[in-house]
């Protein structure tokens, strides 16, 4: 069905970090393809390399070996600033700790990627997105003045703002209570579906993983299962 033109393609990716005790292999020989519009959950125990994998796909961490291709960009030939431009245009990221700019209001946080992209309608668009995530009354608030759930909704709005093809979410409900977490997940999946974006979701929560079309299981820096696109549901 969607075999051609995968949005994300990782071939033989390895990640080794240096530590005082010597080099540590974080990812080993990762092969992964994700088709456009797919939703994929990445699960595994702590330290299995889930977040590192997400960082490599986001271009925030450079693979030590192998090849990373996202939205037809080969990361190997891109410098730090070119990677930043790819993220600005193609990738939205949602973190467990929200990572909003504390010195900016909710509106400014959401408008930021649009302003970077030189969009004249940045503010109007940001307002629309905040309305879509139900935060119209809180647009002028600073992150410190928002609850955890509200901060995560701002983060989702910001991630979706430039209309990315790829949405990366790292434990998006990890810092939230059950009810708020559920609301945030509804929002995330709703937006992904409406925008037809591709979603890669790192989670510990098996129930949440089942909401994705595919689950990739990891342990000890390797993918145990789910590396290939499903050809059938």
């Amino acid at each position: 069905m969607r075999q051609t033109n995968p949005l994300v393609k990782l071939e033989g990716v390895g990640l080794t970090l240096r530590s005082r005790a010597g080099p540590v292999q974080i990812l080993r020989d990762i092969n992964l393809t994700v088709a456009a519009g797919e939703s994929v959950a990445i699960v595994g125990p702590s330290g299995s390399g889930k977040t590192s994998l997400l960082m490599v796909i986001a271009g925030l961490e450079r693979a030590t070996t192998g090849r990373v291709q996202v939205a037809d960009h080969d990361f190997l030939g891109l410098d730090e600033d070119a990677l930043a431009r790819v993220r600005g245009a193609e990738i939205g990221i949602v973190f467990q700790s929200f990572h909003l700019v504390p010195t900016m209001t909710a509106l400014e946080n959401v408008a930021l990627p649009l302003e970077f992209a030189g969009r004249a309608d940045a503010e109007r668009r940001a307002r629309e997105l905040l309305d879509e995530v139900g935060l119209t009354p809180r647009v002028e608030h600073f992150p410190a003045e928002l609850s955890g759930g509200e901060q995560q909704r701002v983060a989702i709005a910001r991630a979706m703002a430039p209309g990315p093809k790829l949405l990366l979410a790292d434990e998006p409900t990890g810092n939230l209570d059950g009810k708020t977490g559920a609301q945030v997940i509804e929002l995330l999946f709703g937006l992904q579906a409406r925008r037809q974006a591709t979603l890669l979701l790192v989670t510990h929560d098996p129930a949440l993983a089942t909401r994705c079309a595919r689950t990739v299981r990891m342990a000890d820096g390797r993918i145990l299962s789910g590396a290939e696109e499903r050809t059938a549901a």
Binding site: M55, E61, A84, R85, A89, V101, P102, P113, E115, F116
Partner: protein, 856 residues
């Protein structure tokens, strides 16, 4: 029950409360001084500045005392203007000890062909001079042998000015004197107050041949005594004897314990002033202390919450952290004391030879105490408030992230303690500066400057938050950062503002004064002052001047010198004058008489006397000094002139425009009072504006030839000499201002370091949503540039107001604005912010993203 809380205050447990708190404070310090570097540096710098000033002043005072005899040229000196000691007076002096007689005066030295002339400070000495120490001549020659041979020993600058060499002769009055030696070092320059001219030594016999000493000539006769009983009691006894026996003789008496009261007073005033400047640096550094403590408490919130969860109460926690802060302050204070103690050593090593007095390295406990107390009080003043927030941390933060509310006020007790620290600081400033008024002005100025900069920081933050978001994303980011709560705005504005304002004020005052001296003054002031014109030669003098320069304008006035010995019958020594008026009572003053009101004066009280006034002696007094001495119309002033006491009643007070540089005097007598006394004239000569330098020089040559005993002083030279002195004072003030700026730089560095983690995180987030490094760099650049420009602008405004007040109200001159001063302030602000901020930005751009993005 296990609890770290100390027992309630009612129980007699205070004895072990302190060790407990101390124990915890020391445990807290196991992490080292991390985060307290700026705190320690700020305290050390401020305490170091204050200690340095105190130690240097102690060393100079000790040097002054130790070398008093050499500086004075004997144990006791008696000096007076105009009149040499009579045989009877001389006999008395010789009864008390060995005597050396000297005569000093200003004179002109001329080349033999009269083509060049130079102002000199002539000193005629007898064979006994100097009683103590030695005049060192180049080549090791003896001054006595050389002057006895009828020659002169001169300061090398005279050779240059006259274009002559050792072995040549020059004209002095009507005599020709050979130059036989070069002066290398003279023991008693300080007490002689050499100012304008080059020093020239001759013998008293040579002086007599010059014809310079005439009745009324401005000669100071000085008698140095070396007494037999050299004990302090013996010294006091002889001084007492001299004061009594020669009460009416008009001598000014000084002894080795305080060889130059004027220098001692100047040193003391300078010490007080520079101590306050050091305190300014310490106060600016206080902002760094406050920032460091606030950050520290913020980082320790979880530890504080843990303490609370195991039973500690707010007070105990406050005591633990206060103890820790005081321990850290103590480190800064000790470092500062050590740093300050090095100042006299360093200055003595580098510039010892150039100083008029050799410093004797001693430090008074008082100097160390002043610096220590200031260090403790300033640390407390700035640390108590942020420390108070430790008490308000709730144990709940252990379970749930809370956002610290920056605006939260500490408990009332902390507010009261902070106020108490402030009051104690002001009280101590009053006590240690010795001048209540100065300390109060200083406090008011500091409070105003801090308030203005805090308000300005708040205003800028508010405006940045309210203004419409600028279109370019980089500028929007910069403005967002400026307006952000907890941003750098207030830190930058407050840390650099005070120092910059001080520098702008100094620069503008300097510029206004230089403008006055170099442009306005020469346009309205005369070209020459001429001293010692014999009164019988007034007409002849006028004729020579008008022959050489027909359009020249001559103003002249009789001039004598005398000193005030009594005011309304009270001896001058017993009068406490307010402000800076004491100088009027402590030395010789120029006196004149006139039947008309002098030019540039206006009678403000009483009336001028009729032209042919006879009867009671009358005097007109300058009104500002009269006010400071508490004098009014009808009071009496007794002046000793030419060894005679003369009492006159104040007939009127005059307002004088000194800055016009026309001839004017503090005291103008009615002619019947002084007319019979031998006197000379003082004159000014004003040439037409278009007169060339050559014409000016030609006139001076003609006057020297016609009147060998008169001394001509070019006003331009006098102005240059004043400029040189003023430049030195300004250098001292600039150095002091720079210390304040350095403290500001430290505070700024601390604030930037504190913000660094947040800024790195911000940059990382921006990178994740597509920002390139150039964008981040530009946004930082715009933010820092805006902050530096805004701070420099306000500092320029405040500095200009301060300079305007100093120039127009205190100096009563015209204020002139200098663009250069503004550019300088801007350059320093941008330079400092760019250097410190740039370093931070470089680290921000290099920081890897991942560690900041992983969940904490």
């Amino acid at each position: 029950m296990s609890s770290i809380e100390a027992p309630a205050a009612a129980q007699p447990a205070a004895g072990f409360r302190l060790p407990l708190v101390l124990r915890f404070a020391l445990r807290e310090m196991r992490t080292g001084l991390k985060g307290f570097g700026v705190f320690v540096a700020c305290v050390a710098l401020g305490v170091g500045a204050i200690t340095g000033v105190g130690a240097l002043s102690d060393a100079l005072n000790a040097g002054f005392e130790a070398q008093g005899e050499v500086i004075l040229g004997g144990d006791i000196t008696l000096s007076r203007m105009h009149r040499r000691a009579s045989a009877e007076e001389r006999n008395r002096l010789e009864q008390w000890g060995r005597v050396s007689e000297t005569a000093t005066m200003r004179a002109s030295a001329r080349t033999l062909d009269e083509s060049e002339q130079a102002l000199i400070e002539l000193k005629a000495v007898d064979g006994a001079y100097p009683l103590v120490g030695a005049v060192e001549l180049e080549g090791g020659r003896s001054l006595d042998a050389l002057t006895r041979a009828g020659g002169a020993a001169v300061h090398p600058i005279l050779l240059e000015r006259l274009g002559v060499a050792v072995g040549d002769s020059f004209r002095l009055g009507s005599a020709t004197v050979p130059i036989l030696g070069i002066v290398a070092r003279e023991p008693d320059t300080i007490s002689d107050r050499v100012t304008y001219g080059a020093r020239v030594f001759v013998s008293l016999a040579t002086l007599e041949t010059t014809g310079l000493v005439q009745p009324g000539s401005l000669v100071r006769w000085r008698y140095a005594l070396s007494i037999a009983d050299r004990s302090t009691a013996g010294l006091a006894a002889v001084r007492e004897l001299a004061q009594r026996a020669l009460a009416e003789a008009g001598f000014i008496i000084a002894d080795r314990r305080d060889p130059s009261p004027q220098v001692t007073r100047t040193l003391e005033r300078l010490r007080r002033f520079l101590t306050l400047v050091g305190l300014t640096a310490l106060l600016v550094g206080g902002v760094g202390v406050a920032n460091a403590v606030a950050t520290f408490i913020d980082r320790r919130r979880k530890v504080i919450a843990t303490y609370k969860s195991v039973g500690a109460n707010g007070r105990t926690i406050f005591a633990i952290f206060l103890t820790q802060v005081l321990l850290i302050a103590a480190i800064g204070i000790v470092l500062g004391l050590a740093l300050g103690l090095l100042v006299p050593f360093v200055l003595d090593t580098l510039y010892g030879e150039a100083l008029p007095i050799r410093a004797v390295i001693t430090v008074s406990p008082w100097s160390l105490l002043i610096a220590t107390v200031y260090g403790i009080l300033v640390s407390l003043l700035f640390a108590l408030w942020p420390l108070g927030r430790a008490e308000t941390v709730r144990a709940g933060v252990l379970f749930r992230e809370e956002v610290a509310d920056e605006r939260q006020w500490p408990k009332r007790r902390i507010v009261a303690l902070t106020i108490l620290a402030g009051v104690a600081l002001v009280a101590f400033a009053i006590l240690s500066s010795g001048s209540t008024l100065t300390a109060i002005y200083f406090t008011a100025a500091v409070v105003v400057v801090f308030a203005v900069f805090i308000a300005f920081g708040t205003l800028v933050t508010m405006l940045a938050r309210r203004m419409p978001r600028p279109k370019p994303a980089e500028v929007a980011l910069a403005v967002g950062n400026i307006g952000a709560p907890g941003g750098l705005t207030r830190s930058v504005v407050l840390s650099l503002g005070a120092g910059l304002s001080l520098l702008v004020a100094v620069a503008l005052t300097d510029a206004s004064l230089l403008e006055e001296l170099s442009t306005r003054l020469p346009q309205q002031s005369p070209n020459y002052f001429v001293l010692d014109i014999p009164k019988g030669e007034r007409e002849a003098f006028g004729a020579v001047v008008h022959r050489e320069a027909p359009e020249a304008v001559i103003d002249d006035a009789p001039m004598l010198r005398g000193r005030i010995v009594r005011v309304n019958g009270t001896p001058a020594e017993e009068i406490k004058a307010s402000g800076d008026a004491e100088w009027v009572l402590r030395g010789d003053r120029g006196l004149t008489f006139s039947d008309t009101l002098p030019k540039g004066s206006r009678v403000v009280a009483g009336a001028w006397w009729p032209a042919d006034h006879e009867g009671e002696a009358l005097v007109s007094f300058e009104d500002e000094l009269a006010a400071r001495l508490g004098l009014g119309v009808g009071d009496t002033v007794t002046v000793n002139v030419l060894g005679r006491n003369l009492t006159a009643r104040i007939a009127n007070l005059r307002e004088v425009k000194w800055e016009n540089m026309t001839i004017n005097f503090v005291m103008v007598f009615s002619p019947n009072t002084l007319k019979a006394a031998p006197y000379n004239l003082l004159a000014t000569i004003t040439l037409p504006k278009e007169a060339t330098l050559a014409q000016e020089a030609q006139l001076a040559r003609a006057l020297a030839k016609a009147f060998p005993s008169v001394t001509t002083i070019r006003v331009k030279d006098a102005v240059n000499a004043f400029e040189a002195v003023f430049a030195k004072v300004m250098v001292a003030v600039r150095v002091a201002g720079s210390v304040t700026l350095a403290a500001g730089g430290l505070v700024l560095a601390g604030a930037l370091a504190t913000a660094q983690r947040r800024r790195i995180k911000q940059a990382v987030i921006l990178k994740t949503i597509g920002a390139t490094r150039r964008r981040i760099l530009v946004s930082h650049f715009v933010e820092y540039l805006l902050l530096a420009c805004l701070t420099a602008a306000l500092a320029t405004l405040l500095g200009s107001i301060a300079a305007w007040i100093a120039v127009t109200q205190v100096m009563e001159l015209e204020f002139s604005f200098s663009g250069l001063a503004v550019v300088e302030a801007l350059a320093i602000a941008i330079g400092l912010v760019a250097a410190l901020g740039g370093l931070g930005t470089w680290q921000v751009l290099r920081a890897p993203a991942v560690p900041y993005l992983r969940s904490e």
